[in-house]
Symmetry: C2
Subunit: 343 residues, 2 copies
């Protein structure tokens, strides 16, 4: 499938992807409005439960009949699968009753990856993108057999090649300007970070596959640069964060609208994985404990109550204010206004 | 270090290792008696907490002044490290107090591997053996720098070579006759299982490193076969299970003493990893759900309450009755009697 076929299959009149940003960003309104306006809306399901994903898809289907996508994280603990756990618990239940003990079956770091895939297939989602690694090749085939477009995320040419080799339909190239998490396969930071442009230039010469370019694209002019170079589409994150439909706290929106490039730091303080966000007290506080930061997803679990409380309090200092390195292009607008500007 | 040096360093007058069997088998009495009788006792610390390991070492040191070993499992979830979690919780505490929220920091599948290593070093343990994979090369160096003998476990020649390459001091070769868990690096069953003898024959020709042979050795005659072939030592599991000092339930001891080779099955019903045990109702029950068995350590967590209750009830039908394929050699005796027979 070439780039044109891909856009046609996804019924896109505008080559704009909504980044599948996790953590309550991609409201049904945001996702559906992007697809409805000719782009491709994606649910950022990285931290969702199967139930919330299912509900969001149902709600989005009432808002648009256009194709939509779902972004999933490749699990760090693939051995933990809640549905398998539940099944085994059922198998063991008669023994617990017979021997009269409290089963107390518990496995806590839940990994609902397979359940999410089942829901995506059942609900007829049109595209699945993956972040933080590559899916099993058999999963790529399974999704494609259900006519689902499969997209991987790469931050360097080796990751792009690995995704190409397992037959994904398109690759998102995420440069160092991108807000939020680097979608890299591993959690370490390479010596050399590819900028969005340098990454596109390298990979587009090596691989014959539709490329979706992401990272710091917050103006129609920048989008055009990549489309003119041959990118199939661009993917916007920060630019959508400040729209009316985005689900981030108001204080986060305001912070982006007031931010300058210099305010952005690359930090693993919140989750254990490197991400670009607006500098604040928490990032500063953890600077002195850099070696003590746990790896993802452990650090993310440990800071979860703090992030929850700071959202409630609209306290920007202990919140993960994800933002790309070109915040100056972001505007306070509706999705439809944004999509018109990028026409 | 050659085989003779190894035995000398460990002050062994008899080339007999106690297998580091986990799950309450290796009581301080069993471990200390094996070392005291000229062999090398090992604490099976695979499922222990740092606290219980620490207590057991202290108790063993009061019972013998001879060297002892500790067996550890290579963790399946290396990213989870409870001491790192605790440290980060401390770092986040002032924020929780400031923002007034319940930290609720929890990570449940605990992996205390690093804490166990610290205790082993602090307490001056003389040998560490690893099962279910290979340790980081840096860990091997660290232990050796503390004058600790490092031993890996292999079930085929590739695993043996991988252990050799990271510079362990000796390799335990575990053949298919071994009771309990196969100590293989991964959880799948190969097409061809090496018997103890075939494994020794292959590896001893390829690698110049002290080899400790394990699997089905329940008679002095069989032990002699391997020692005459050039094995540095043999490692006994089942033979020690039925000694007075072993910590397994009486019903388990009786089951071994009454078992025949035909009663032993290779099953992953209890833990998700393949292990040899005496056939019983639970193994039979799970035969019909083979595809639903979760991977290790999940299945092990899920069957834990059942195993606990069946121990309390001395109910052999729902207990993991680990046993090698040559149970006929096992006797009801003391460690000292066993060690005399193997002189």
């Amino acid at each position: 499938m070439n780039g044109c076929d891909l856009l046609a299959k996804l019924e896109m009149s505008s080559p704009i992807f909504l980044a599948g940003m996790a953590g309550g960003v991609t409201t049904p309104e945001l996702v559906s409005q992007v697809s409805e306006s000719g782009g491709l809306g994606q649910i950022g399901a990285g931290y969702m439960t199967p139930e919330s994903l299912s509900n969001d898809i149902d709600r989005i289907r009432t808002l648009t009949s256009k194709p939509v996508g779902v972004n999933l994280f490749i699990p760090e603990f693939p051995k933990i699968n809640q549905s398998e756990v539940n099944q085994m618990n059922e198998i063991l239940k008669p023994i617990a009753e017979k021997l009269n003990y409290d089963p107390g079956y518990k496995v806590i770091i839940e990994n609902c990856f397979d359940e999410m895939i089942d829901i995506i297939i059942e609900k007829g989602i049109e595209l699945v993108s993956f972040t933080f690694g590559k899916p099993e090749e058999s999963l790529v085939r399974k999704l494609q057999n259900h006519r689902i477009v499969v997209v991987g995320t790469a931050t360097n040419e080796l990751e792009a090649k690995a995704l190409y080799d397992i037959g994904v339909d398109a690759v998102v190239l995420q440069g160092s300007e991108a807000g939020g998490h680097r979608g890299s396969f591993n959690q370490t930071l390479p010596e050399k970070l590819y900028t969005t442009e340098s990454l596109f230039d390298v990979v587009s010469q090596q691989l014959d596959i539709p490329l979706i370019v992401a990272g710091g694209i917050t103006t129609p002019e920048l989008a055009k640069v990549f489309l003119n170079k041959g990118a199939t589409a661009v993917q916007l994150g920060t630019a959508f964060l400040t729209t009316k439909e985005s689900g981030i706290p108001e204080v986060h929106k305001e912070s982006i609208l007031n931010a300058k490039s210099d305010d952005i730091s690359l930090t693993k303080a919140f989750s254990g994985r490197y991400a670009n966000g607006i500098h604040n007290t928490f990032i500063h506080y953890l600077d002195q404990f850099e070696d003590e930061i746990c790896s993802y997803p452990i650090q993310n679990i440990l800071t979860q109550p703090m992030r929850g409380q700071s959202k409630k309090m609209q306290n920007r200092e202990f919140m993960n204010l994800w933002c790309g390195t070109n915040p100056e292009g972001a505007r306070k607008e509706t999705v439809s206004e944004l999509m018109s500007r990028y026409k």
